[in-house]
């Protein structure tokens, strides 16, 4: 498995770096060729320079945002999993809980974020809540599907063993939910950064969203883009972390795949 994944990883990195590099190059050339003013669209070189000169400031802000994103992700994850488990154990709750969840999910976050700031202040708490609101729903839906995806044969086996609900959950339902959970995490982890940044735009005493907002007010577009770049990298980082974790946690899937259909 390891001897196979190393060259694949190298190829993936080269491919990603190549495409991103070419995009940045095209951007640089287009901006210079058009003589686009720097307060409309700065070239990547200017953004990089700005980042370099303000690295301390941006990284400190990124740290705050990362904390809020992770906190919100954890809260959203917990709520999503707990609600999914509850409506699986007590099916009477299913309709009502799903209706409520869709209602919460359908509420425009942009409208809620300033309210939360008004109620809870400029600290990290409203950001954590906004991020949780944004992330719990995909987790809930996927984990709910996963908990119902145990195959009939396993259900018949556990029934014959007279397994209780908890034993069925522990030995069969939960492990077969993990692939669904990770599918949700891949969507939700980068989204958590977006959630934290959007919440910071609604008023914050620190964070990347605040840095963006201040730079925007100054028409300091290179700094604005540098902050955007930081949040994007953070989103990618969280996504990669999820992928790495997935391969470790759902190891049995990769075992089967690398065997190449010799069943």
């Amino acid at each position: 498995m390891h001897e196979r994944s190393a060259p694949t990883l190298k190829r993936d990195v080269i491919s990603a770096a190549g495409i991103i590099g070419l995009t940045l190059l095209a951007w640089e050339i287009a901006v210079r060729f058009n003589h686009t003013p720097i307060y409309i669209l700065p070239p990547p070189s200017a953004i990089a320079g700005k980042f370099w000169r303000n690295a301390g400031y941006l990284l400190a802000a990124a740290g705050v945002t990362l904390g809020e994103a992770l906190g919100g992700l954890l809260l959203g994850l917990t709520v999503g999993i707990v609600v999914a488990a509850l409506i699986t154990f007590w099916t009477n709750l299913e309709r009502g809980m799903l209706a409520l969840s869709i209602l919460v999910k359908a509420t425009p976050i942009v409208a809620i974020a300033p309210l939360l700031t008004l109620w809870l202040g400029f600290g990290p708490l409203p950001k954590v809540i906004v991020t949780a609101l944004l992330t719990f729903f995909p987790v809930l839906i996927n984990v709910h599907s996963g908990l119902h995806a145990v195959d009939e044969a396993a259900l018949a086996l556990f029934h014959s063993l007279n397994a209780g609900r908890w034993e069925l959950f522990r030995y069969a339902r939960w492990p077969s939910t993990l692939p669904y959970l990770f599918a949700a995490l891949k969507v939700v982890a980068p989204l958590a950064v977006t959630g934290a940044v959007v919440a910071e735009w609604a008023g914050a005493s620190a964070g990347l969203g605040r840095a963006m907002w201040l730079a925007y007010a100054d028409l300091n577009l290179p700094l604005l883009f540098a902050a955007v770049f930081c949040s994007a990298v953070m989103g990618v980082g969280l996504y990669v972390l999820v992928v790495v974790l997935e391969k470790r946690v759902i190891f049995w899937r990769w075992n089967v795949q690398t065997r190449g259909g010799e069943i």
Binding site: S160, W252, N255
Partner: protein, 252 residues
């Protein structure tokens, strides 16, 4: 464990019209007997097995396992269930899969069958730490067989356990099952659509006819095991089973 079916019938509530799956069936299986149930697909042989396993309830009639209803036998962990899909947990090692029946529902009485010994019995001792994904289909069914033994149940309900395997693996495993049956002496109800398999394994073969299912004929198989499929008496049995089966299909 003896099995007694008295006028057991099953009708499913279809979308528009009720679907009669089984006409009343009466059958007795003695303790330690090996009975194969064969029949054309859709004859309700799996339904019959699921009724005995307490996975379905009969519409009419009574099922008694050692004079108790199936639910009682199941709760006392007296029923082992094995199907075409080995239903191994891919995230647990082979050994942990075999150990599963002894981990679940600990209130049930458990015989002292050591999972490691059981793996030796099915000749998979070297694979105790492997994960099911790394095993072939035949090996996976052998793990499922060891898991069946680990229940210590006196009644084995087998729903076409070898249907997905190739002919050679199927024959090897059938011999293995007979060896285990001789050692542990469970009562076995074995659903199959493979005539040669039934002739090789069973004390008695119950032939069912197509929907609605009912027992068409019962054929006792007396030659001693192991049975050679090319021996004249086995060939005669296979021929007879085939004739009964063909008749049961045309009159449906």
């Amino acid at each position: 464990m003896n099995v007694a079916l008295r006028g057991v019938a099953k009708t499913f509530n279809g979308v528009q019209t009720p679907l009669v799956a089984l006409n009343p069936i009466t059958l007795d299986v003695a303790t330690g007997e090996f009975v194969c149930i064969i029949g054309p697909s859709g004859c309700g042989k799996s339904t019959l097995l699921r009724l005995i396993a307490d996975q379905l309830s009969p519409t009419a009639g009574a099922i008694r396992l050692d004079d108790a209803p199936p639910a009682v036998a199941r709760q006392a962990q007296q029923i082992a269930w094995m199907a075409q899909n080995p239903a191994l947990l891919p995230w647990q090692t082979v050994l942990d899969n075999v150990r599963l029946p002894q981990r679940i529902n600990r209130r049930g009485r458990h015989p002292a069958l050591d999972p490691t010994d059981l793996l030796r019995v099915v000749r998979l001792a070297d694979f105790a730490r492997a994960y099911p994904g790394a095993l072939s289909g035949g090996m996976q069914q052998r793990v499922a067989l060891a898991r069946t033994l680990a229940t210590g149940a006196p009644l084995w309900l087998m729903d076409e356990p070898f249907a997905a395997l190739d002919e050679l693996t199927r024959e090897t495993l059938a011999d293995e099952v007979l060896r285990l049956w001789h050692t542990f002496r469970p009562t076995v109800l074995w659903v199959t659509h493979n005539i040669a398999e039934a002739a090789r394994l069973a004390d008695r073969v119950v032939v069912m006819s197509a929907r609605p299912g009912c027992i068409r004929d019962t054929v006792a198989i007396t030659p001693p095991r192991p049975r050679d499929e090319t021996a004249p008496e086995t060939v005669a049995i296979i021929r007879r089973l085939r004739a009964v089966l063909r008749k049961s299909m045309t009159t449906a």
